[in-house]
Symmetry: C2
DNA sequence: CCCTTCGGATACATGAACGTATCCGATACA
DNA sequence: TGTATCGGATACGTTCATGTATCCGAAGGG
């Protein structure tokens, strides 16, 4: 079905990368809905021919862009979680993860665009859901690893449930951050929310 | 600066309303970014002339639409919160509010579009922030009224802080709902999150 | 060193959306 | 009932993005 002509791959990979990078900037600045193909090509220093040689449609580029960055973030989170021992030091872990997740407002902007895009395209939604599931699983693993050292509130159920709550808190804080652009406040809030969720309210921060 | 010719107001109000209603449906179905003015007019059964007679731009219509619906929701939430006595019955309150907030997926879709729109337009962002502040204040009032009957976890600070957390939880659950479209699951999750946040984890659901 | 193949540029045709300017019917008021 | 004004429809010109078809230069193989 698909012929894979794998010659001359160097130049091609470079322009593809430049296109993706330029697309990220343009999407972040103007929003997916308002961006034209030409605009991206211009920002990347290419003509539209280059675009159509690498992508069939703007949606396809957007999808590729999201996957690239999302995988990057996911691995960074996993790394941040793996960084301390079996005992879960909640404040420290939260700080490190928060640092990764709320580092780049531009990424949050693009991610939100991708969300509303996915909300109307089942295929895209599936991909996003899978990605979120992977992230939740990483968090749940970490929480499970901490069992016995730290106990979770019962309301959330198992580690899987707690991970779900963590992601929800992250998403919730993101919304406010997109509006007020106050990264520090968002970090603080996410920290407070996560400690409230992951620890026994009566026991922490006496 | 502005002349306000207030004659013949009946027909005008009706077409404006029909335009807004049609816009809501079209926005929900296709997303703000993909919608043309003509599309809305078609759905409303009007020509573009009618649109330009009532709104200067699509952004203006979107803004009006959001305000209309958001005010409606806000009053419904306030009503749901006022419904029980001074003692805060967390599960019952949460159920009622949840019912209102997670009733209409279409509204959540439109709201998300508006969010990413606002995230890039400071003017719009201000309006949205004010609206969120009003909603938070209503919740905080309710929580304060319950002081002495139910105590809040200390991590979140005062009632204002707790209200902030409630909104964050709502936003977080919304994101997942937009992807999996499972309203019941979302309601259940929001309930669990809110009870986890608003009550002492060790004390509830023994 | 040629020459085949590939990648990106250029040129072109098409269609869609926009905003305006003008027209006609309807409505409110005398 | 007449009439002035208002609201929405129609018609028009223009801009802009898209996708394709073709061309040229450059990289890589023999």
């Amino acid at each position: 079905m698909e012929d894979t002509p794998k010659r001359v791959t160097r130049r091609r990979a470079a322009t593809r990368a430049r296109l993706l990078e330029a697309a990220f900037e343009v999407f972040a600045a103007r929003g997916f809905g308002r961006v034209s193909i030409e605009e991206i090509c211009e920002a990347a220093g290419f003509s539209r021919g280059a675009f159509y040689s690498n992508f069939a449609t703007l949606d396809e580029l957007f999808f590729a862009l999201y996957q690239e960055r999302a995988d990057l973030i996911a691995s960074q989170v996993a790394e941040a979680l793996a960084q301390d021992g079996p005992g879960l030091d909640v404040p420290a872990s939260v700080d490190r993860v928060t640092e990764v997740l709320l580092l780049d407002v531009d990424w949050l902007l693009v991610k939100s665009d991708f969300l509303v895009h996915a909300a109307r395209d089942p295929e895209v939604a599936r991909a996003l859901l899978e990605h979120r599931a992977r992230l939740r699983e990483a968090i749940a693993d970490r929480l499970r690893r901490a069992r016995g050292h730290t106990e979770l509130p019962a309301v959330l159920g198992d580690a899987q449930g707690a991970a779900h709550a963590v992601v929800a808190a992250y998403d919730g804080v993101t919304v406010q951050l997109l509006l007020d652009r106050d990264v520090e406040a968002a970090r603080a809030w996410l920290g407070r929310l996560l400690t409230a969720l992951l620890t026994d309210g009566s026991r922490i921060l006496a």
